[in-house]
């Protein structure tokens, strides 16, 4: 399935873009970002992080307080939405419910008074691309949410836009439809080479669909990188906590009088020296140790330098092929994820092995990554 629709997509650049609604506080602060030609860039963050303001500024719906936005090197900062040729896919589809699939997709072309031959050819190409052939003449209100959203994607594509913006495209869908459409959008992105921006608060959706992800918090860009980069090497505590489900376990460390490192929640445990690389002395006095639930094992792995935290299993969440154990050590709870069925039962005492090669470290004061894994590997 190649793209039969002729789309020439742009490269989008944001240069020190700032948005302030009240003149005092910044919804978006000096944002530098590139969406490369043919890639999907996700803007990811919790509500209030500035992702929606960014989307509106790129689309030309909201003015830019400071900074510039360029499409293929052309400054479009002062252009309105129509002058940028941006197509939107909304969370609630925004279709005409009583019109057919064909007519909904044809709508932007009819507005532009395209010839009926052009309309028929482009719309049918979009229908084929999005596998809507079986529904071509159905009223969209009779379709599932997932199919309706595919119609709205088709409507965006026939405009031959410079950029497609997906605004929380899956949030109104049932769980099973979400998974299906997620794959379809990913596939479309990979084969049709769209330049697109995805706005979502859901890290799973961003990871699944986007080529690169820009994580934002309180108007400030935290990190931009591939899904793998963000997962394997989060730049700071915010990204570490936001990416991953169940979230990364974080432990405060403290230096002991004997020069060793201790966990604040388990001061009796003397952390062994890391196998190679960084000296504890070079690290900030208080740093935060991070470990993902699936990187903790209940039995030591061969040849893998690790240390063990003993705890009691207090709860177990069945997630199908994975079990998430909640383990208590003293007053501290943390999560351990295991392939199901886990042999551990609620009430069991378990040794949780934290392998050095899978640990993350962060400066507690600044939140920045200490690149512990780079040092220890």
């Amino acid at each position: 399935m190649g793209l039969a629709i002729n789309v020439v997509m742009a490269e989008i650049r944001l240069n020190a873009v700032t948005k302030s609604y009240d003149g005092r506080t910044h919804a978006v602060e000096r944002l530098d970002l590139v969406c490369r030609q043919g890639e999907m860039l996700a803007l990811l963050g919790p509500s209030g992080c500035g992702k929606s303001s960014t989307l509106k500024m790129v689309a030309g719906i909201e003015s830019v307080t400071a900074g510039t936005i360029t499409f293929d090197g052309v400054d479009v900062t002062r252009r309105d939405s129509a002058g940028r040729n941006v197509a939107m896919v909304f969370e609630d589809y925004a279709l005409y419910p009583h019109l057919s699939v064909f007519e909904n997709i044809a709508f932007p072309l009819r507005v532009r008074a395209a010839s009926s031959a052009t309309i028929a050819s482009k719309v049918d190409q979009a229908i084929a691309l999005l596998e809507l052939g079986a529904f071509r003449n159905r009223q969209v209100r009779t379709l599932s949410g997932g199919a309706q959203q595919r119609v709205s994607i088709g409507r965006a594509l026939v405009r031959e836009p410079a950029l497609v913006m997906f605004d929380e495209p899956l949030s109104h869908l049932d769980a099973d439809q979400k998974v299906l459409l997620r794959t379809e959008i990913r596939r479309l992105q990979a084969t049709a080479v769209l330049t697109s921006v995805l706005v979502t608060h859901d890290q799973t959706e961003a990871m699944a669909m986007a080529d690169r992800i820009a994580v934002m918090d309180q108007g400030v860009l935290q990190q931009v990188g591939s899904p793998r980069d963000l997962y394997e090497a989060p730049a700071n505590l915010f990204v570490a906590g936001f990416i991953g489900e169940s979230p990364m376990n974080l432990f405060d460390t403290m230096p002991a009088p004997d020069g060793s490192i201790r966990l604040a929640d388990a001061p009796e445990l003397r952390l062994p020296e890391p196998p190679t690389g960084a000296r504890p002395g070079a690290w900030p006095a208080g740093w935060v140790l991070g470990v993902r639930p699936e990187d903790i094992t209940l039995s030591p792995r061969e040849e893998e330098p690790a240390f063990a935290l003993r705890g009691t299993v207090v709860d177990c969440e069945c997630c199908g092929d994975r079990d998430v154990l909640r383990v208590r050590h003293g007053d501290r709870h943390f999560n351990v994820e295991q392939a199901a069925p886990s042999p551990a039962r609620v009430g069991d005492m378990v040794d949780c092995h934290l392998p050095w090669s899978r640990l993350h470290g962060f400066d507690r004061a600044t939140g920045r990554s200490l690149h512990l894994r780079g040092a220890a590997c």
Binding site: Q203, E245, R292, C318, G320, D321
Partner: protein, 409 residues
């Protein structure tokens, strides 16, 4: 008669002895002009047990919850709570704390006021002092991370915050049963994941049972001691999350449960000296004799449905066909690759269907690339080609009847 019933509990059972006890729903039937009818639905919830009810939208989940709470009446069947038949009791006599999917908040009351309202209602009169009511309100506000919003009005809240107020209002009560209708469906993914554990652990400390309705199969597994799968108004399966995941009763359940859900594909078997099979109408490929011998007696006209869990599917380089050591291989093509961090979902095209494989992170298969899909035969489930029911395990292979022999050519 009715008024007598209404007054009676206040006298005979002081509220401080609110009866927590098992819930038993027996052959509940409700017909509607609409779609959300129920057909002979039975389930039970033990004391302190969390039972989730999951199914797609329109399955009848909300209807079932409303029948238990007394907001609707059933045509047939019984609802017994703590030994008491509820069907003749009006909603307010049932002592069921029902959280509505639509929130149903009072717009003129603050967050705290909405949550406290049932605690000061006539049915709770005198149970809690004002200080105790406050304590209960604060406990649930903290649990749901809503404490900063306690004095706001509903109109000043986001949808997710309103949902948490509705949830708080149900949880703050001390009823005989909790009914939670999609309690966390409108929260963002992060909070949903966190709260499902927090609420589950809180409810496990209670004497009362909890009925938790959700369309999300993973949430249904994660929160529940036992789960009920409801599709088309009929109970498809009841069991522990691990049981339902391991052995879905039929293809409808299989397609609903898992992250992502199980792949279900039609298979046609071709007997002979070297047996073959065709998955999803793909060109016939070799299948091991041992698997063929296991499946052949179960097939109808040589056809059945196979269930393959995404985590059991492996993606290997193309051209492998070694159906040995209990490992089956079929040619496939990569349709899409979704890197999710701790694992990657690879969608494969096999024949005219798409299968999902959950593989270790870092897989870099190109879209469109030919590959081999591989699965251990022991992990495969098989379902009847017509009824969709799961074939029972380890059933001694019966001698294939003549009908089958013909079908298998």
């Amino acid at each position: 008669m009715l008024s007598a019933l209404l007054r009676l509990p206040a006298v005979v059972m002081p509220m401080c002895m609110a009866q927590a006890g098992p819930l038993r729903v027996e052959r509940l039937t409700k017909a509607y002009a609409g779609a959300a009818a129920l057909h002979a639905v039975s389930l039970d919830v033990g004391e302190g047990e969390i039972v989730s009810v999951t199914g797609p939208s329109g399955a009848g989940k909300s209807t079932l919850g409303r029948l238990v709470s007394g907001l609707e009446t059933a045509e047939e069947g019984r609802i017994v709570l703590a030994g008491q038949d509820l069907c003749d009791l009006p909603a307010r006599g049932r002592r069921v704390a029902h959280m509505f999917e639509s929130y149903a908040l009072y717009p003129t009351l603050t967050v705290a006021g909405n949550i406290a309202l049932p605690l000061s209602a006539p049915t709770s009169l005198g149970r809690w002092t004002a200080a105790q009511q406050l304590e209960r309100v604060d406990e649930v506000l903290a649990l749901t991370q809503m404490a900063p919003y306690r004095d706001r009005l509903p109109s000043q809240l986001s949808g997710g915050q309103k949902q948490r107020v509705a949830l708080c209002r149900a949880l703050a009560q001390d009823p005989s049963l909790f009914v939670l209708d999609e309690p966390i469906g409108h929260l963002d993914a992060k909070l949903r994941h966190l709260l499902r554990g927090e609420i589950r652990r809180r409810q496990k400390q209670r004497r009362q049972g909890t009925l938790w309705f959700t369309p999300d199969g993973i949430e249904a597994m994660a929160v529940a001691d036992r789960m009920v799968v409801l599709i088309g108004g009929r109970v498809q399966q009841t069991g522990s999350p691990a049981e339902v995941f391991a052995r879905p009763a039929n293809v409808r359940v299989a397609r609903l449960i898992g992250d992502p859900a199980m792949n279900v594909v039609p298979v046609r078997l071709f007997g002979g000296a070297s047996p073959e099979w065709s998955l999803a109408n793909a060109a016939p490929a070799r299948v091991s004799s041992s698997l063929f011998d296991r499946l052949a007696p179960l097939a109808r006209d040589g056809v059945l449905q196979l269930g393959l869990r995404p985590a059991d599917l492996q993606v290997l380089p193309p051209g492998l066909s070694g159906n040995t050591d209990g490992v089956e291989c079929v040619p496939a093509r990569v349709y899409a690759v979704e890197p999710l961090g701790k694992h990657t979902i690879v969608t494969l095209e096999v024949g005219d269907q798409r299968l999902r494989a959950k593989v270790p992170p870092g897989s870099t298969w190109a879209v469109g690339a030919p590959v081999t899909a591989s699965c251990s035969a022991a992990q495969l489930l098989s379902f009847d080609s017509v009824s969709g029911e799961l074939h029972r395990p380890l059933s001694p292979a019966p001698a294939p009847d003549p009908h089958h022999k013909e079908a298998l050519q």
